[in-house]
Symmetry: C2
DNA sequence: TTTGGCATGTAATCCGTTACATGATTAG
DNA sequence: CTAATCATGTAACGGATTACATGCCAAA
């Protein structure tokens, strides 16, 4: 079998966050796409089936609600679900196999045209910059707020900052290397 | 459809490397598992079917060889294949959706037990250290060698070093943060 | 009235891994 | 002799994305 499915645990994790009320599938999707968007991604085709199977296993429980005709299913984590979540959180992190397309394209760079590689690196640099900016704002917002993030969330934030910074520096440095290559006129 | 398949291009890239003679599927597999192991991964179930379809499309050509009874198929890139490779190398890098299991587990850290999180971070730190060491040795070997790596390969090396370093620093820093948490006795 | 956000879902399809099958050769 | 390495492949399965289907509500 391939990697064990992680979608259910992301859902359990979000529903288990302290001080979180029951959420609908739609809200779970939104939460993934906003608060943990730079850490994790899930599509509808994963979320809704997972919600169904989690209910069936008794790890979450549903409460249907009709808010002015608009149907809505609110899910909450059960004690059993919280147990499973804790077990997963304690289980070893599964290491993903590397698939670094940018690095691979650079590795084959001798066969490629330079302007394209430059474009790739510029795009990467811009993404790193944007990511870094986002993390820094987050951190600043946290520092200003009397209610601080948990140390755990701060650790994830620091990861984003550290890695974005490294990524950004590397991209800038590499762009300079490419610019200095023979056959390129200096700007 | 999902992401466009990249296996064929990895194969084309390896076969297209300047100064590379025809290789067998087995050798391609080995090359992936050694020289680009920290960048890319492929399994047999991907490689052999890809070789077949690449031959059928005329992007690579086969030459069967029987070396003392042991059958062996040697593949070489064709001009058409090189064209496709160049086109792919120039096409925008497809951004993978984030799936950072370690970061996610830390994010949900309030629900987890601390010793487990510490184990996760230690494992991560060790991996980062090992990766960094490997990159540094590579770089040292290169500096000592009169025939230097291409600037492109050096760029990928620098990426490995930069990111491993950042990863390592972050892990060490985070372990200290966790160690200082209430409920933990200082070592 | 039409656009966009809320809301739930399913089906097709594909990428990729695991696991297995098969067999020759070489080093210990 | 037997274990490891060389060597080529296939089948089953599962995880994940895309794309589509459906419908309500509010605001422009």
């Amino acid at each position: 079998m391939a990697r064990t499915q992680r979608t259910p645990f992301v859902i359990l994790g979000l529903l288990g966050l302290s001080g979180s009320q029951p959420r609908s599938g739609y809200e779970i999707r939104k939460a993934i796409d906003t608060v943990i968007s730079s850490i994790w991604h899930e599509s509808n085709g994963q979320i809704y089936p997972a919600l169904k199977s989690l209910s069936l296993s008794g790890l979450i429980k549903v409460r249907s609600e009709a808010k002015r005709g608009r149907r809505k299913k609110l899910y909450a984590i059960t004690p059993k679900g919280r147990g499973q979540l804790r077990a997963w959180l304690a289980s070893p992190v599964e290491i993903g196999r590397p698939r670094e397309e940018l690095i691979l394209k650079l590795f084959f760079g001798s066969e490629a045209d330079l302007p394209a590689l430059v474009r790739h690196l510029e795009a990467h640099r811009d993404r790193a910059r944007a990511g870094l900016e986002k993390c820094r704002e987050w951190e600043k917002g946290n520092a200003a707020n009397p209610i601080r993030y948990s140390p755990f969330v701060q650790i994830t934030l620091r990861a984003g900052i550290s890695l974005s910074e490294a990524s950004l520096r590397w991209a800038e440095e590499s762009l300079q290397t490419l610019a200095a290559l023979p056959g390129r006129t200096k700007p």
